[in-house]
């Protein structure tokens, strides 16, 4: 059926006299308002502006920002209270139940072990060595994982081929690589770095892939419509849009790097491998020094928390708040 097209002219002023009476009345109103518009464009526009401004302020969500001090207190006080509570309970158990000190040392023994490790400089050396290796390993993992992730996210054949392998590697405990690494690299730092990379790279790459996957398709369409080239699309649209997912991949990558590092340090000792926190843990075990073991575990835990609190949490909070992705209660 061909489209039957009728063109009608509504309310043309010139033809008004031929139109029905009620039409004429409407005409008059329309031409009248047109004339009024032409005559008083500015006031009409002003009226619209004020109307809009009024509606905007009605619809605006009032923000109730809390001060930085208050926010920090809210974040810091509850965990510290919990920590104190746990230590008190631990000490109370020691006092009341009196367990064998070589099996269950009290908080004071553990603190003593920390102090003696500090005074013999072992603690400082171990923390610095481990942090240095963890940090360097993490940065190398970022440098390797990011391009892999980008390739995986943007190139379908590569993803089909490599995607399952990378997910599998993420599940595989990276400690499993330690024996192989020792055979390949001997007792050197290369062994430690290799294990750290095998732990962190898949997490970082996968984080970037899921970040890219979660980009609303509409944003890419807007990029196309705005005339972005392939490179501009990647740098100005895809990467910034994928940032939250990428960042959580980085966080997970750090966690994997830190864990893998400890595992590698416990297993691979001696040679040219420096003295890290894992080595300190292993050394305490060989001396059957449970206080030393517990003290080292606490230090490892504390370093992990510190990196999260000082480096990742502030960046993440800023990232999410700027995009309005943060629940009101977490601000």
């Amino acid at each position: 059926m061909p489209p039957e097209t009728t063109t009608r002219t509504l309310t043309a002023p010139a033809a008004a006299d031929s139109a029905a009476a009620d039409f004429a009345a409407a005409d008059a109103a329309v031409t009248d308002s047109a004339a009024a518009d032409a005559a008083a464009e500015a006031p009409g526009h002003d009226e619209l502006r004020r109307l809009e401004a009024g509606l905007d302020s009605l619809q605006a969500v009032p923000e109730t920002p809390r001060g930085a001090v208050r926010r920090t207190l809210d974040g810091v006080v509850p965990p510290i209270l919990l920590l104190i509570g746990l230590i008190v309970a631990w000490q109370a158990y020691i006092v009341i139940a009196r367990p064998r000190p070589d099996l269950i040392p009290g908080p004071i023994d553990v603190f003593g072990a920390l102090v003696s490790a500090w005074s013999s400089d072992r603690l400082q050396i171990a923390v610095l060595t481990s942090l240095e290796r963890g940090g360097a390993g993490f940065l190398i993992a970022v440098a390797i994982g990011t391009p892999i992730g980008l390739l995986l996210a943007e190139c379908r054949p590569v993803r089909r081929a490599l995607g399952p392998l990378l997910s599998g590697l993420q599940v595989l405990p990276s400690v499993a690589w330690v024996p192989a690494a020792i055979i390949w690299f001997g007792l050197t730092d290369a062994t430690v770095y290799f294990v750290v990379l095998m732990g962190a790279v898949p997490s970082i790459a996968n984080g970037l892939v899921s970040g890219v996957d979660q980009i609303p398709p509409q944003l890419r369409r807007v990029g196309t419509v705005l005339g972005a080239s392939r490179l501009q699309m990647a740098t100005l649209v895809v990467l910034p849009a994928a940032l939250p997912g990428y960042f959580s991949g980085l966080k997970q990558g750090w966690a994997f790097a830190w864990r893998s590092l400890m595992a590698a340090e416990i297993i691979a000792m001696g040679g040219t491998i420096g003295f890290g926190l894992g080595s300190m843990l292993q050394q305490s075990r060989e001396l059957a020094d449970l206080s030393g073991v517990l003290a080292t575990i606490l230090v490892i835990l504390f370093v992990g928390i510190l990196v999260e609190l000082v480096i990742f949490a502030p960046i993440e909070r800023r990232l999410l708040r700027r995009r309005g992705l943060m629940a009101a209660g977490l601000r």
């Binding site: 043309a12 409407a26 008059a28 807007v222």
Partner: protein, 271 residues
């Protein structure tokens, strides 16, 4: 109507010769579509034999029920999809597009969102900021330039999106149900805003909607599409250039007429 038409018309009724002349076909063609057809894969025909000439500076509303392919047609004009047969020519090159969802980049402020469009258009860095502020002022949002999208209401976001589309400086603006997700009060204001911006900038606008009243309120030319396959079955031309209100009797009358036809088209699908 807030004013009594009979009375005010006595006072200010212009002589017939003053009445603004409708835009005659002397205007050059902005978009021409010839024998356009579209199907996805081996599926049914989505668009069938669409022939259209849209004059420069015209405000065209594309109206139809769901599934009539009006958004597909818009995407084809925008170059986001390829037609299966026929041709689409946009005289001025590419077209700017605005979607139902404002789709602002959430990591950029309102001002930066507009600036990004200017950047992709190739405007030098120094000129972008003032140009973006000017565009935001055009949609009455100069004060919101430093706000982020999540801090803006739906209507404000849509206005930023409008400013961003205008930043592309393309003569043709395609709008895909841009106000469908807004509340009635906001939508009513944005109709006025859009009409003002259209008159001020002289853009050719193709506005896709499923809201009959909206089409009757805004369009100079209203195209009614049938569904499955999508064809243009009727069109109305409104030649007065004054503002209409969505509540006004002439909009209502035109709306009723279009609705009747639309329902007829929908009923045809019942069998």
């Amino acid at each position: 109507m807030t004013t009594d038409p009979a009375r005010t018309s006595l006072l200010t009724a212009p002589p017939a010769s003053v009445a603004v002349a409708p835009t005659e076909p002397t205007e050059p063609t902005a978009i021409s579509i010839a024998a356009l057809g579209k199907r996805y894969g081996t599926g049914p025909l989505v668009l069938d034999d669409i022939n259209l000439n849209i004059e420069a500076g015209q405000f065209v509303c594309l109206l139809g029920a769901s599934g009539c392919g009006k958004s597909t047609l818009l995407n084809i004009i925008a170059g986001l999809e390829k037609p299966t047969e026929g041709t689409v020519t946009v005289a001025s090159g590419k077209a700017a597009v605005m979607f139902q969802d404002a789709a602002l980049f959430p990591w950029l402020t309102a001002g930066r969102n507009v600036e990004l469009a200017l950047k992709l258009r190739g405007m030098p860095r120094a000129a972008r900021r003032p140009a973006a502020l000017e565009l935001l002022d055009l949609v009455n949002l100069a004060d919101a330039a430093d706000k982020r999208p999540h801090e803006l209401s739906g209507g404000m976001r849509q206005r930023v999106a409008l400013a961003r589309s205008l930043a592309q400086d393309r003569k043709v603006l395609l709008m895909d149900e841009p106000f469908a997700a807004l509340d009635a009060i906001t939508r009513d204001l944005l109709h006025e805003e859009l009409e003002r911006v259209w008159k001020q900038t002289g853009r050719t606008i193709v506005f896709v909607t499923h809201n009959v009243r909206e089409a009757a309120r805004l369009g100079q030319r209203i195209l009614l599409m049938s569904s499955r396959p999508g064809r243009v079955v009727n069109e109305w031309t409104i030649t007065d250039t004054g503002s209409r209100r969505i509540e006004s009797p002439e909009v209502a009358r035109l709306g009723d007429e279009i609705t009747d036809q639309l329902r007829q088209e929908i009923r045809r699908n019942a069998a």
